[in-house]
């Protein structure tokens, strides 16, 4: 089965800009699902608002396009009602960590079995290039014409501290890596977070003079290093890629079932 068989092709060509990394993330995700051989009707994809959120319209799974930042909250409801389904929640950086920041940390804390994908392009693309909590100090944006002075969140550290039991990071340049991490994240029993650094040539690229999509992918290659590599050891300023957390802890739906059992015995 080809990746093209998992999409709603009546909505193609997709609406993302030329060279947008979000399309590559969709591509990697479909490949991961194809490799795992999961049936289309066993997947629920829930998304919020923003460029990233349009992803749920393109996939031929059960899909929900929900409120800004509330994709994880809606996904939690779906998972509690139908724990046998695979719930995948792609979100943008603003959707996941600004508008939905609270939902994000609490979903991590509960360790509910779903896969959160942070499609991190470090900007609000759909609304015209405002800076996000992942833009970081020195980033130029429409709302930061003299550069941003806000410190950025580190998605990996935040997810780990909040209690996510699978945390990984990669980029849209490292596609084979992205497919591998997404597969592991989907198979992981518990809350998985995969941050995929994505290029927005239209706003982030233009405002920060990063050039075309191709230039931005080359930039991702330069500024990141694989966990455990000599390259990363020698240059600690590089952004680490890899699997940071992979551990087994009690999962929320399983624990909830135990409560149901206990309550039914009374």
């Amino acid at each position: 089965m080809a990746v093209q068989e998992y999409i709603r092709d009546r909505f193609f060509p997709q609406m993302w800009c030329e060279g947008c990394g979000h399309g590559t993330i969709l591509n990697s995700l479909l490949r991961a699902i194809e490799d795992l051989g999961i049936s289309k009707s066993d997947i629920v994809m829930t998304s919020g608002i923003g460029c990233s959120a349009r992803i749920s319209g393109y996939v031929d799974f059960h899909s929900l396009h929900t409120m800004h930042g509330r994709a994880l909250a809606c996904a939690t409801g779906v998972k509690m009602a139908k724990p046998e389904l695979n719930v995948i929640v792609p979100m943008g950086d603003g959707d996941a960590l600004a508008i939905g920041g609270n939902h994000f940390i609490h979903a991590c804390r509960r360790n509910i079995d779903m896969t959160a994908i942070v499609m991190n392009n470090r900007i609000y693309g759909m609304t015209g290039g405002q800076y996000s909590p992942l833009s970081g100090v020195g980033t130029m944006a429409t709302t930061a014409p003299y550069s941003s002075i806000d410190n950025a969140f580190d998605v990996v550290k935040l997810a780990e501290a909040a209690g996510a039991t699978f945390v990984a990071r990669t980029t849209t340049y490292h596609v084979a890596e992205a497919v591998t991490y997404l597969k592991k994240a989907i198979q992981h029993k518990g809350f998985s977070v995969v941050e995929i650094m994505s290029q927005c040539p239209t706003y982030y690229g233009r405002k920060n003079k990063k050039g075309s999509a191709v230039n931005m992918l080359e930039w991702f290659k330069e500024i990141t290093g694989k966990l455990g590599s000599k390259e990363l050891e020698d240059n600690p300023s590089l952004i680490a890629r890899g699997i940071f957390v992979d551990e087994d802890k009690p999962e929320y739906c399983s624990e909830y079932n135990k409560i149901i059992e206990r309550a039914s015995k009374r």
Partner: protein, 71 residues
């Protein structure tokens, strides 16, 4: 197992937006943008079936189709 060879690099020109990612990162320089700005396979004989173009394409416009080599 029989060796795989390239049957076709199928590019959906109506989905391709011409970002050039496939062209820039093809290790064998198989692809080029045509006059309409769409990706086309100009040197398919050099293709090593790594499928990096297919995997990186944001528009899901590329399919590297393989077939088994006749012995």
């Amino acid at each position: 197992m029989a060796k795989k060879k390239l049957k076709e690099i199928a590019i959906n020109q109506s989905w391709c937006k011409g970002c050039g990612i496939c062209v820039a990162f093809c290790p064998k320089n198989v692809l080029e943008l045509n006059d309409e700005g769409c990706s086309t396979a100009v040197r398919p004989e050099d293709c090593i079936l790594c499928k990096l173009c297919e995997m990186r394409c944001p528009d899901l416009a590329i399919r590297v189709i393989e077939e088994e080599e006749e012995v």
